[in-house]
Subunit: 339 residues, 2 copies
């Protein structure tokens, strides 16, 4: 094909400009009290967002994120050609009930907490391919709905090991288009499932680190880059435990990312005061951190190029109870400042 | 953009050839005893496929479908650039554990039983956009894993109303490429979430029919076609109840599709002898029917143009128990015979 956009084994290069026109971050109260608190667009003090269930609360957060991103871009929902969206809940119910009133063609996605990367990748490919003028990429997670589904009902008051991460209550929305903006998506490295046999659902950083290592090092190879070619490399939600493992694994591959690696799960909470143990996690974690913290610094030009790598742990309550391992997946998105 | 591929409000036209190189259908015993039984590539007599759980049985079926499609195309897994795949289970565990050994970059998808259409759409957009030489689109469902998750454990032996459909045990895999073949994907109409407020999880045909109507009639408008411009229009799994509703809804829009409409859920079982009530359903239903029945007739030229519209009911056990409605979604794929 003459419009070959493949790069190396696992990456693509977006030769036509794909820009992040606007973004929005909506979070819960705990996230609002964290280090990024004053950067979020909306902080919801009521964890139920006025709804009767955690699931509908999460749907409501998605709606707010979508509306805010649309307002910032000066667009109406009818101008969006597609939404690429997902969440952590079985059958993506936060998304189905959150986005139905927007009345926009929908591609439902699931990549666990890596879904923010998956949605940006497919959204960018859609714009670059001439399939749409505007698309929205959106993800969410909610502490209440996720704990209820994956672990224990909140009322049970179980203890959490120090390796556990805290599911971020948050939703991030991004509007992509071909119209020149300040931040461009220039490349994508789509992840494979990587399974090191970790079986501890309360240590997801360890389960996801090998997939993050695979995506990051393959990105270096495919684009012929070194770690220092990126001002920052942000993983999604490895947390403190997963970060150490990632550094070790990447180092075994001959790269050192300790100087420029950050993790959205580490950025979003203050470990000392917020009792969130290993850090934040969830589909919303990387999404709201990208929107509130990473994108503004790219827009300003403080950073010129960032590798954003949301990470996902592919487990379900059923697979966990049946003794299966927790495979990981991670999707890399190359973001560049545009003058 | 100069490579504008948008068509009408909700569709795209694939101006570069995207072909279905090969496909595979793997089913359970009951499907093998149905009208399409002798057309499937593999019929598995053991519903557990030698595994210890329904979920791993479904994963094993996915592996068999993927391997068979690869063999037919004369490809190895390492030649696939992406897999677009999904299933009905929470957090797509049939897919995660079914495809991890293939070691191929994965986009996990969820559109309930419409996922076969979603995976073909994104796979075709990826080939047409020059992002890959070969991709695989794959979906599955399994009666045992689906009943356990959505309704009652099989051991409970509950009665099923006549409006209920029977989840197909099956997995269909499709390899897409730009290399000229006998069947081409020429257009895509991506569906919106349509919610008529149906709350009966044992009447999913009624829940999905409005979404099917929206996608089908929008496809007519976007491509400026009449129903008779298609030799056949196949919905995914509306069954007998949903088919009647679809005909009525489409007729209200001024179109008559009764002469050329078929439904994969109706084709796959013999209603008189197989006790499957309203018909078949599930991610695997439309996939194995496309592979075994629809594609061969397109390849032979018996049909020149088919509109394939997998339909999905967006519910989860949680949303159902919380009293939510069952919204529907449907994705239209235009398939054409190539001389």
């Amino acid at each position: 094909m003459d419009n070959n956009r493949m790069r190396g084994k696992q990456s693509i290069e977006l030769d036509r400009g794909v820009y992040i026109m606007s973004s929005a971050s909506v979070t819960g109260k705990k996230e609002g009290e964290g280090p990024l608190g004053d950067k979020f667009d909306i902080v919801c003090d009521d964890p139920m967002l006025g709804q009767d269930s955690w699931e509908l609360a999460e749907s409501t957060m998605q709606k707010k994120a979508a509306q805010t991103a649309l307002e910032k871009a000066g667009l109406s929902a009818s101008q969006l050609r597609y939404i690429f969206a997902g969440d952590l809940l079985g059958q993506l119910i936060a998304t189905s009930f959150g986005l139905e009133t927007l009345d926009v063609p929908l591609f439902g996605l699931f990549g666990a907490c890596s879904t923010c990367g998956e949605s940006l990748a497919l959204g960018a490919m859609t714009i670059c391919g001439g399939y749409a003028d505007y698309v929205m990429s959106l993800t969410s997670s909610h502490f209440g709905s996720a704990e209820k589904q994956f672990r224990f009902p909140l009322e049970y008051g179980n203890q959490r090991p120090l390796s556990a991460t805290w599911t971020v209550t948050g939703s991030g929305a991004f509007i992509l288009s071909g119209k020149r903006g300040k931040v461009r998506i220039s490349g994508i490295t789509t992840g494979k499932i990587v399974d090191y046999g970790v079986k501890d659902s309360l240590n997801m950083g360890a389960a996801m680190a090998p997939a993050a290592c695979q995506a990051i090092t393959q990105n270096f190879k495919d684009f012929d880059r070194k770690p220092q070619d990126y001002d920052r490399i942000f993983t999604g939600d490895l947390g403190y435990v997963g970060q150490q493992i990632l550094w070790d694994l990447v180092s075994e591959q001959g790269y050192d990312i300790r100087k420029n690696h950050g993790d959205c799960g580490i950025e979003i909470y203050d470990q000392k005061t917020q009792d969130t143990h290993a850090g934040g996690s969830g589909c919303g974690c990387s999404a709201v951190t990208l929107s509130s913290y990473i994108l503004p610094l790219l827009e300003q030009g403080t950073w010129k190029r960032v590798l954003f790598v949301p990470t996902g742990a592919l487990l379900s309550p059923t697979s966990f109870n049946e003794g299966q391992s927790v495979p990981g997946i991670a999707h890399g998105i190359v973001l560049e400042h545009c003058r």
